[in-house]
């Protein structure tokens, strides 16, 4: 499917390209041939056209001259015929004779419609007409007629053309009689020139026509044009010819009345003042050119066909090998590197194909090498990855099994065997002067617990003793005597190559990993390195387990010691208090004089004994309390209590002290506080302790007790104006037997257990105690305890 798609995608542009090259060749070739043929034809045509035009022009001019001559000779013939009646003595003939001559002349010359004879004075003697009655001796004076004047002067007169009944062209011709004895005037119907004009053949479709000096048509093959009195002067060629300066300009390109282009030539008949035009349609005049053009076109088409065929053949010859090459390139591109081109054209294409084949061969070779390299590298990478994974796996086993070394050793031998190319992997551990087989995986049958001597007779022994790796690629290569036991064992178990890697802890070997395989051959450096890594991991694991076991043992011992201490303190306090109570009792009785009066001196000593005894008792009580707390023996007696009552009790107990030191003792208890639930006696003890301390450490100023509710907690503060406590000391003062160590505190005395006990009591209630103080600015001890301490504790438990 995908292959298919790829092929189609390849073929699309490929096909177009192939066509492109083919067509380029063909078009180039055909184009060249066309260009040559076209240029040739164009030049040919140009010369043909030029020659033809020149020839046509010459022919036209000749035809015009010839036509002019024909027409002139037509008129001259009439003149000659008239000349027949113009002998000098003719005029003196009898009138009937003259009339008869005129009639005969008319018969002879159909164009003459009317003849008139004037005598030398211009008087009309005779008039013979085809249309009207003959008139004899009319005697009318024609001496001023141009015809008479002209003929008398020049013997012959040709009058201008005129149109009878606006239709038929006529002209007057007059011929003087011999000896100037008169004039014969003839009205000539020019319609009859039609015979002459229509017989003038100009090519196939050319024609001649005659105009007078005014441009009016005198004769034309189409007689109706003449009869209509057509004015030809609108035509360019006629206008040019009749212009006063109208020289014989020769033929011109013009258009006839129908607007068809014609080649026009003209010639004048000077005697008649007429102009004869000869016109040939340009199309006909250029017929040879058109013929030549058609021939050239045919030649061009033929040339194109031949050129197309030849070009197609040549292009095929070129394109086929190129196509083969392209196809080959595509096959190679698709991965068929073994494909070779077979082009035997014996030219550059063949050499190109050969070059192509060489490139393909080189490509194929390098491709194979590359593939091999990639394969190797991939294998290395995957090996490396597996080894990493194995290493990481061992680490995982180590972390999962902190107390048992067995799974770790199991994992190590397994990994070592797998990745270090051994058939059998074994871990032996040093146990005194022996090596014990701790774990094993592989082909050799060995029992865990098997013991070997720790000496130079085995590679393992040497490795452990010397702390370095021993690598025996071939047992047979060992010098005789060395590693005797190893050689012996190997021979028995069919082992050929041995690797012993020591497991080093702080430079000391605690065992070794032993790798064996039945074939001779060295272990790779990487395998040895890996075995060393496994050895190190095994060491870590063993170490871990050992350390873990030790720590566990130590902490168990510590716990027991601590319990003993608390028990001891509790017992001790109890045991101390009993005799001390007896001492205090007797001392009091003595001071009270139950045993008789005592001297003053003894009295004072007794009082001091009593005072110190009481202090000692307080101290012992405190220690007892503390030890009870430590031993978990202190239990709270939960009951309802009133904060206000508690504060009042404390104030009344400490009032005298404050008064003695002249310190103001104030209380600020928020009204309406609810009843709390807790150990009222213990809490009062805490407050008393705090207030006592405050009074004790304050030399002047005041001590203030504040109490309020904040949510479900009471907040109680004891504020003094004492010396304050440095920041570093603030945490310590709540530890057992800690006092701020300075002269003023030592002077004040105290067990140093009060705050510690207070903290414990507050914490038993689920509350917190802390101090805010600055040196020289007094202190503010704050307690927060839940209103219902019992509920909090239950929730906590």
């Amino acid at each position: 499917m995908q292959r298919n798609g790829a092929r189609i995608a390849h073929r699309g542009p490929g096909k177009r390209l192939r066509r492109g090259l083919f067509f380029k060749y063909v078009v180039l070739f055909v184009g060249l041939v066309t260009a040559v043929l076209v240029i040739n034809a164009a030049l040919d045509l140009y010369f043909v056209y030029r020659d033809n035009r020149r020839a046509s022009i010459d022919v036209q001019r000749e035809k015009a001259e010839a036509a002019a001559q024909k027409i002139e000779s037509f008129v001259r013939e009439i003149e000659r015929q008239i000349g027949w009646v113009t002998q000098a003595q003719w005029a003196s003939l009898p009138v009937e004779q003259r009339r008869f001559d005129y009639i005969r002349l008319q018969r002879q010359v159909p164009a003459i419609t009317e003849l008139a004879q004037f005598d030398r004075q211009g008087r009309e003697q005779l008039r013979v007409s085809r249309l009207s009655m003959d008139v004899v001796g009319a005697g009318t004076d024609h001496s001023a007629d141009p015809a008479f004047v002209g003929a008398m002067a020049n013997r012959v007169y040709f009058g201008p053309v005129y149109f009878r009944k606006e239709s038929e062209p006529y002209f007057t011709m007059a011929v003087a009689h011999g000896g100037r004895s008169g004039v014969t005037v003839a009205e000539v119907n020019l319609k009859l020139i039609w015979d002459v004009v229509s017989q003038i053949r100009i090519g196939n479709s050319g024609y001649a026509y005659v105009v007078d000096r005014l441009g009016r048509l005198v004769a034309h093959p189409d007689l109706s044009l003449v009869l209509r009195g057509t004015d030809m002067s609108r035509l360019g060629q006629v206008a040019a010819a009749i212009a006063p300066q109208g020289a014989d300009a020769g033929p011109v390109d013009a258009r006839n009345r129908a607007g068809i282009p014609v080649l026009s030539a003209h010639a004048t008949i000077p005697a008649l003042n007429w102009i004869v035009f000869v016109e040939l349609p340009t199309a006909e005049a250029q017929q040879p050119v058109i013929g030549a053009g058609l021939r050239a076109l045919a030649l061009l088409v033929l040339g194109l066909l031949i050129a197309g065929l030849v070009a197609a053949l040549l292009a095929r010859r070129m394109v086929v090998p190129i196509r083969a090459m392209q196809e080959g390139a595509q096959r190679i591109g698709r991965g068929d590197l073994g494909h070779r081109l077979a082009i035997r054209t014996g030219d550059e294409l063949e050499s190109l194909a050969d070059q192509f084949n060489r490139s393909a061969a080189a490509l194929e070779e390098s491709y194979v090498t590359l593939e091999q390299r990639v394969e190797d590298r991939t294998r290395e990478l995957s090996e490396s990855l597996e080894q990493q994974t194995a290493t990481a796996g061992i680490l995982q086993v180590i972390s999962q099994s902190p107390t048992d070394v067995e799974p770790v050793l199991k994992a190590v031998v397994s990994a070592a065997r797998r990745f270090c190319g051994a058939d059998d992997a074994t871990i032996v551990l040093r146990e005194g002067d022996e090596l014990a087989l701790a774990n094993h995986e592989g082909t050799l049958e060995q029992l865990v617990g098997t013991r070997l001597p720790l000496d130079g007779s085995t590679t393992a022994g040497r490795a452990v003793l010397e702390g370095r790796t021993f690598h025996i690629p071939d047992i047979d290569g060992i010098a005789p005597g060395d590693f005797a036991l190893t050689v012996d064992l190997s021979r028995r178990t069919n082992v050929r190559a041995v690797l012993s890697v020591p497991m080093l802890r702080e430079g000391e070997a605690i065992g070794c990993i032993l790798l064996r395989k039945p074939t001779a051959g060295p272990y790779a450096a990487r395998q040895i390195e890996l075995a060393e890594t496994f050895a190190a991991q095994a060491v870590i694991a063993i170490q871990n387990v050992r350390l873990f076991t030790e720590i566990q043992e130590k902490s168990r011992q510590l716990e027991i010691a601590s319990q003993h201490k608390s028990q001891f303190l509790a017992n001790m306090s109890h045991e101390l208090r009993t005799p001390l109570n007896a001492i205090l009792g007797y001392t009091e009785m003595m001071v009270d004089g139950l045993y008789g009066d005592m001297p003053e001196k003894a009295q004072r000593v007794l009082e001091r004994v009593q005072g110190n005894g009481r202090h000692l008792l307080g101290l012992i009580n405190d220690v007892l309390d503390l030890s009870k707390i430590e031993a978990g023996q202190l239990t709270l007696a939960i009951e309802d209590y009133s904060v206000a009552d508690m504060v009042a009790t404390v104030v009344s107990a400490t009032e005298s002290l404050a008064r003695a030191k002249k310190i103001e003792l104030r209380t600020a208890v928020s009204p309406g506080l609810p009843l709390g639930r807790g150990d009222a006696r213990r809490l009062a003890q805490v407050l008393l302790n705090l207030v006592g301390n405050a009074i004790k450490f304050t030399d002047e100023g005041k001590v203030e007790i504040r109490a309020r509710q904040d949510g479900d907690r009471f907040k109680i503060s004891v504020i003094d104006t004492g010396p304050g406590i440095a920041k570093v000391d603030q945490a310590k003062i709540f530890e057992e037997f800690q006092q701020v160590d300075n002269t003023s505190t030592r002077k004040k005395g105290g067990t140093g257990l009060g705050l510690s006990i207070s903290r414990k009591i507050v914490e038993l209630h689920g509350g917190r105690i802390f101090v805010e103080s600055e040196v020289g600015r007094g202190s503010n001890f704050k307690i927060t305890i839940p209103v219902n301490a019992a509920a909090v504790r239950e929730a906590a438990e």
Partner: protein
Amino acid sequence: MIAIRHPIGAMRRRTLVAGIVATLADGGVARAQATAPTIGLLGTGFIELLTVAFFKGLAEAGFVEGRNLAVARRSAEGQLERLPALARELVDEKVMVILASGGPLTVRASRQATATIPIVFAYGGDPVADRLVTSIGRPEGNVTGASFMGSLFTAKRLQILRQLLPRAQDVGLILNRKTTLAEGQIRDAEAAVALLGQTLHVFTADGGEEIDRAFAEMDRRKIGALLVGTDPTYGLVFRDRIVALAARYRIPALYDSRDFVEKGGLVSYGSVLTDTWRQAGLYVGRILKGEKPQDLPVLQPTRFETVINLGTARALDLDVPASMIAQADETIE
């Protein structure tokens, strides 16, 4: 005659396809027949001589009846009142051109029937004077044609008649007033006889019996020479009757065309009628090819001829002067 020239492209094409055209020529004829145009012939009467000349002219223009031309003929046979109805018939037949032969009446009847169908006349009068066209050179409207101008040579004819019969004092002129050509000829004749010193006797006759009566009257008046006026009914319908009457009453007569003489008339002077009818045929052909009547000037006669029947002269015991014979274009025995 100038032909319409082919433009270059057509010429080349013609050159190239000449062979193909040649092979298709038969088919082309067949097609022309299928779409052959119809022309109408309207006349006071027809004589074969002139009809043949007319069709000769048509053939010169490329039209042959039955091949590429259909012809509808309507002849009044001298009954002039029938002409308008006949003209309408031709128009109803949707003819493409009407040949109005023999006198202005046929032209007028045709012109009344249609203002669009081209009318080509062939007759013997002056078409301007007869108000058929406004100008000889540039006719207007849908009328043109050819005239042999027979009615214009009355004076010339009377002079020839006098030359032939110098002793004849009473000259007769027979005419048909109904064809409208009579007035001008009478006027011309009166002027001519005044010059020639003769007496003119005018006879008008528009039908066969009237012609008979006219000849009887001439015989009674001892008319020495007769001029038979130019008239379509005379020329086309009553020709033979007139010639026979002239022979019967032994009246030497001059006619306007040679066919009278060929049928036994004494002498004729005038233009060649067959020319006129041929030209009319040519014009009809040109109009069929697409030319317009107003582009075709009225054609006038060119050839004039004097024809003498010497046999008739002998029958009349007439001595024809040698000069007369010399000047005759043709003599018939």
